[in-house]
Subunit: 209 residues, 2 copies
DNA sequence: GATTAAAAAGACCGATCGGTCGGTCTTATT
DNA sequence: AATAAGACCGACCGATCGGTCTTTTTAATC
C-alpha cells in the first residue's frame, strides 16, 4: 500500500499550523488570530492557508478541534488513569491545574479565551465551542455520578458539583493571568479538595493537602 | 455662579459615549471596541472622539472606570446595605447574580470580557483592570473578615473563601452565555449558599434556598 | 455684534484585515 | 516523457482599523 507524499506533506504542515494557532489563539483569542501573524509564526505564506481551509471560520473550527485534542491528551486521559470514584473526580481537577501550572499554552487556556470571544457570536465556531464545553461538563457529571454510585461520594446533585469544580478550576485562569500566580493555583486546589473530602465517606483516598 | 454650556454638553456626550461603550465592550471586548462601530452606536462622528480622548487607550481606561462605577452602583452598594456579617457576604454574591440575571449588559459581564482581552497585554489598560479586580477581591476579603470577626462565619482563610465565591460567581458568565441560562444561575446560588451555611454558626440568617 | 474657544463633523491617511488570483514546485499517474 | 493534481507562494484587492487635519457649529466673552 502506497501513501501519497503530497498528502503526507499537506497533513504535516496542516498539523503544524494548527498547533501554532492554538498557542497564538490562547493569547490573542480565536478572533484575534489573523492569517498574517499566524503565517509569520508558522513560517508559511499567508495565501498557503487557503489550500487547507476555505476561509477563516473553517480554520477556527479546526483550531478548536486541535485544542480539544490537547485537552483530552493532557487532562482527561491522565485523569481517567486514576481509579474510578472520588480519586478520578479529583484527578480531573488536578490535571487541569497542572496544565495551567506548567503553562503549556502561552495564554494559559485556549478555551477560556475562545469562549470569551465567541459566546455572543452565533455560528459554526460557537457551536463547536459549545460542543467542547458540553463534552467537558458531561464528563465531569458522569465521573461524579459514577463516584456517587460506588459510594465514594455523597451527593444528590452531580451537576451542581460539576459546576462547582469547573468554576473553581476555570477561575484560576483570570486570577493567574491578572493577579498572583501561585495563590490562585493553591486556593483552587484547596477549595476542590476540601469540598470533595467533605462529601466523601472515604476522604483518605484523597491527598493530604 | 455660571456654568459653561459648552462644557456641560461635552461632559454629557462624554458620559453617553462611555455608557454605550461599556455595553458594546461587554459583547465584543475592550479591544473589539472600535471607533467606527462605537460612533454608529452612540450616534456621533468618529473623529469627535478625539475631542475627549487623545487615543483609544485613554478611552479604554475611561470605559473601565465607567464599568467599575456601574459595578459599584448595582452590586457593591446594594450589598453594603445588608447588615455586616454573613448576610453582607451573601449579598455581594446575590447582587452579582441579579446583575447577570437581569442582563443589565448585553454581553453579560464587562469585566469578564475585558480581562480576557487584556490579561496578556501589559499597559495602562491592563493596570486599570488589575486595579478593579484587586479592589473587588479586596472588598470580598474585608467583608468576609468582618463576618468572621463578628462570629457569623467560621473561617481561618478569608482569601480562600473570597476566591471560592468569586469563582462561583464568575463561572456564571461563560455558562449562561454558552450553555443554559437558569441552571447556571441556580447552581451558582446554591453552591455559595450551601458553602456559607456550612461555615456559619447562624445559618438561619441566610435565605432558605 | 464681533471675537474667541470648545464640541463636533468630514475628508482623508497608512496599516492591516480577510480573501483572490496567477503561477511555481513537487509528486503521483499514465 | 507527458499529464494531472496537491502544496505553496507573491502580488494584489476592497474594507476597516486607529488616527490626523481642516472645517463647521455652538456657546461664552468682550
Amino acid at each position: 500500500m502506497m501513501v501519497d507524499g503530497r498528502l503526507v506533506r499537506g497533513r504535516r504542515s496542516r498539523e503544524a499550523i494548527l498547533e501554532t494557532a492554538v498557542a497564538l489563539a490562547s493569547v490573542d483569542g480565536l478572533e484575534g488570530l489573523t492569517f498574517g501573524r499566524l503565517a509569520v509564526a508558522a513560517g508559511v505564506s499567508k495565501s498557503g492557508f487557503f489550500t487547507h481551509w476555505p476561509d477563516k471560520e473553517h480554520l477556527q473550527v479546526d483550531v478548536i478541534g486541535r485544542a480539544a485534542r490537547q485537552w483530552v491528551d493532557l487532562i482527561v486521559s491522565p485523569a481517567l488513569g486514576e481509579p474510578a470514584g472520588v480519586r478520578r473526580v479529583w484527578g480531573l481537577h488536578e490535571w487541569r491545574l497542572r496544565f495551567y501550572a506548567e503553562e503549556v499554552l502561552p495564554g494559559g487556556c485556549f478555551f477560556h479565551t475562545a469562549e470569551c470571544d465567541f459566546d455572543d457570536r452565533p455560528g459554526p465556531v460557537r457551536d463547536r465551542l459549545l460542543e467542547a464545553k458540553r463534552s467537558w461538563m458531561g464528563l465531569l457529571v458522569s465521573v461524579i455520578t459514577a463516584a456517587a454510585e460506588s459510594g465514594e461520594l455523597t451527593t444528590d446533585d452531580p451537576e451542581l458539583l460539576a459546576f462547582e469544580i469547573d468554576a473553581l478550576g476555570g477561575a484560576v485562569v483570570p486570577h493567574t493571568r491578572l493577579l498572583d500566580r501561585e495563590p490562585a493555583l493553591r486556593r483552587s486546589r484547596a477549595a476542590v479538595l476540601q469540598r470533595l473530602k467533605s462529601l466523601s465517606p472515604v476522604p483518605e483516598l484523597l491527598p493530604e493537602e
